[in-house]
Amino acid sequence: MMVEREVTIKNRAGIHARPAALIVQTASKFASKINFHKDNETVNAKSIMGIITLGAGFNTRLTIKADGEDEGDAVDALTRLFENRFEEE
């Protein structure tokens, strides 16, 4: 089983260092394997350099994919971050 959800980046600055750190912190709490997909790129959500180098700017669409025992919770927690605009603005 795998949980998949599409999210849109709603904060103006896009995913820079601080949001990336938040994402990684959140993702690392879960045991599942979590990946972000953008176009045809895939990065590990537990790696800060991966997330930053994704170069995800304002209004970019990403797909979060989680695979593991706590996959549902992981995707929920990450989606919440995107919806809260990473507590920015």
């Binding site: 790129e41 590990n44 537990k46 790696s47 350099m49």
Partner: protein, 349 residues
Amino acid sequence: MKKFTVLDLLDQDLKEHNALNLRCVGGRSGLSREIQVPDLNRPGLALTGFFDNFGPHRIQIFGRGEHAYLEKLQRDGNIESLQELFRREIPCCIFTHALEPTRDFTTISEQASVATLQTDIGSSEFSSRLIRALSNVFAPQEVMHGVLVEVFGIGVLIVGDSGVGKSEAALELIERGHRLVADDAVEIRCVAGNILQGAGAHKALGHHMEIRGLGIINITHIFGVGAIRDSKQVQLLVELELWDQNKVYDRIGAEDRTREVLGVHVPYLQVPVKPGRNVPIIIETAAMNERLKKMGYYSAREFNQSVLKWLESENARNLYFEKHGELLERERQNGGGAGSSIAPMDEAD
């Protein structure tokens, strides 16, 4: 794969013997055209009006011959075949030897919005460089999560789960004088069918690393340009994993284990990690061992050969002693007591 356009071709930042030295001399509106195939075509026949088996999706190369023919067409006021040529969906035209397109050519290509590029390199040399560049662009590729370092000249890709210590191991390797190629997102291309070339997935972001507790650090600034490299062939794959009590790890290493990346078999090692185990030194040694293997020396196999040889000679010795021991024994029983020319008795068994 992302669309590869004529503009992307112009933007290729290749150096020295790979440089294409391209500039755009006309038809700028055609720069957004996509290049779909990594092939070239010399349109000599097409210019004479023969279009059977013409490769329209190919980049058209105009060398001295084609250029001379274009000038002849210009003199004759003949534009039919040129119009016919640009009626096809060609990606772009390139003039070699810094040749200038003729007036008719410029007008017609401009109308068809096909970009005209120019290079100062000769046709043959340019063709081979362009084919090389295009085959790199069109090579199968994959982004892998790991760290690519050059250790004693061997490209080592360190992979493993998050938090297992890939970056820390790489950092110590860099500190010991080795080079960082890419951290985290390593873009791997299969070049020429059997070579895996690795580089950072995002060149613009340079050589940075994330080290837990330190944050993001700039390797070039801290360790200098000697500590980095833009791309390197992946020659060894090292997977770090937390030490598992129940797992059987390779203790001899006599058989070559490989893992397939983009259809190429790469020498592969699984290195268990636990506190107190110095992973960088293990990787360093693995790299040197890999070099030895390339030179034809297999530590584990040769060790085994010596063991076999030793066992064999030991067997022979024992056999010898057994035989002669019996002989001595018999002599002694016969009351001789001589036979001192043969090895001492106590080694006979």
